[in-house]
Amino acid sequence: MLDNQYFKKYLSDRNIDLKEHIQVDRLCTLDIDPKAFEDFANKNRQEATVKSYHPRPFLNSETNEQAINANWIGYNEHNTTETNWGLDPVHNQKLKEMIGSHNFEAMGIDPARSLVRLLEYMPGHCLPLHSDGLEGFKKLYGDLRPTRLFVAVSEWDWGHVLQLHDNVISNWSLGDTYVIPPNVFHASANFGISPKYTLTVTGVQQ
């Protein structure tokens, strides 16, 4: 039915085993205004990056191999489309201001060396199992070993989920923040009826 031998081998070669537990705890809960982020998305929709999950020449070979493996088993623009803001330096700066210095302190992230991206996943779309290449951050700041955080910028709704290895993250409250450990495989999906808004904050720890 689906030729997932390449994806399986990729995980096997890296000893990725779902039966091994990886502890993931909530880092903190930020004090943020959800409407500000939704308004930002709607106001700046014309400048958003709209992409689906596929290989691209500016991504590293690991990331692209994962994308090739995912495309091979049926992931495409119909089920992986993401709208995001933050790669534009103006948007990155604005999103940092919306988060605020007190929240960067809570996260332990240096705002001057961070990349914030606001992600919008519409119903029926997902981000397939992958590990992060952090290419966007590295392009801006070089190889600084950043921390990647997931931040919920709206209260949880049915069908909104994130899996971090063997942890399903759901039922979140506004501002809940989790560390996505390096090289840990994760996936997310929106099978509800409302858009899913989250942030990824990638930055150097203070």
Partner: protein
């Protein structure tokens, strides 16, 4: 991909799309932020069965034709929701499906699944039918769903459309209907299922849940292996 419609500025409330009789007969909290709930209390038991054999057989059956039989499609010209090739505007799922597909982004390309039902189970049918002696045999339906990676089942309340279609009943009597669900394979990467405010993980093949009517649920597969579930639907013997 440019959206063909604006995103709703107000949160879509699915409760209003659920048939009134289900809301009346099965009151539920209808609040995704509710923490004081019992949505995770409907686990029944782990059923001992050759789940590996059934799962492998089901995948082989799908591989014989490679075409998911089921998907959802909204036809804007007709203002109609289709489940595969069937217009289901006259089915009680209509309003919920409209929320997900009309001016929304669930599509035929992300809602596909394979289905094996009833006599299609061949030699598996008899032992599967015996698993729930509390359901009337003459109206019991068994369906196995294989959800490929990249596909979702939109959040919904069961309205038993397949049961109505199979039995020929004019409408469903939700006071006597019941659905049970078992996972055919162990939990895997990217396999999501929520039942109300309870989000599942770590399930084992054979884990069986009582899908009490009236609770909002859905599923997705963002992993690399198919997600397989089996469902028994029918009328309870000791009710009504």
């Amino acid at each position: 991909m440019k959206l063909k419609h604006p995103i709703s500025e107000k949160r879509l409330d699915p409760k209003g799309a659920v048939p009134k009789e289900i809301l009346e007969q099965y009151p539920w909290h209808w609040n995704p932020m509710e923490q004081n709930h019992t949505d995770g209390n409907h686990f029944m038991r782990n059923i001992d069965f050759d789940w590996k054999g059934l799962g492998d057989w089901a995948v082989q059956k799908c591989n014989e034709h490679l075409t998911p039989q089921k998907y959802w499609r909204f036809d804007y010209d007709e203002d109609a929701i289709y489940h595969a090739k069937e217009n289901v505007n006259d089915m009680p799922i209509k309003e919920q499906a409209f929320l997900a597909f009309k001016n929304n982004t669930h599509t035929p390309e992300n809602s596909q699944y394979f289905k094996i039902a009833n006599e299609e189970f061949e030699h598996w049918q008899e032992p599967l039918m015996k698993m729930f002696p509390n359901l009337k045999e003459d109206k019991m339906g068994i369906s196995l769903f294989v959800q490929p990676p990249g596909h979702t089942m939109f959040t919904h309340v069961d309205t038993y459309s397949s049961f109505i279609r199979r039995t020929g009943d004019a409408k469903a009597d939700y006071t006597v209907l019941r659905r049970y669900m078992a996972f055919v394979r162990d939990w895997d990467f990217g396999h999501f299922f929520h039942y109300g405010n309870h989000c599942f993980s770590q399930w084992r093949a054979g884990d069986c849940w009582d899908l009490v009517p009236g609770i909002y649920h859905g599923s997705a597969n963002a992993g690399l292996n198919p997600k397989i579930t089996i469902h028994w639907s029918g009328e309870l013997k000791d009710v009504g």
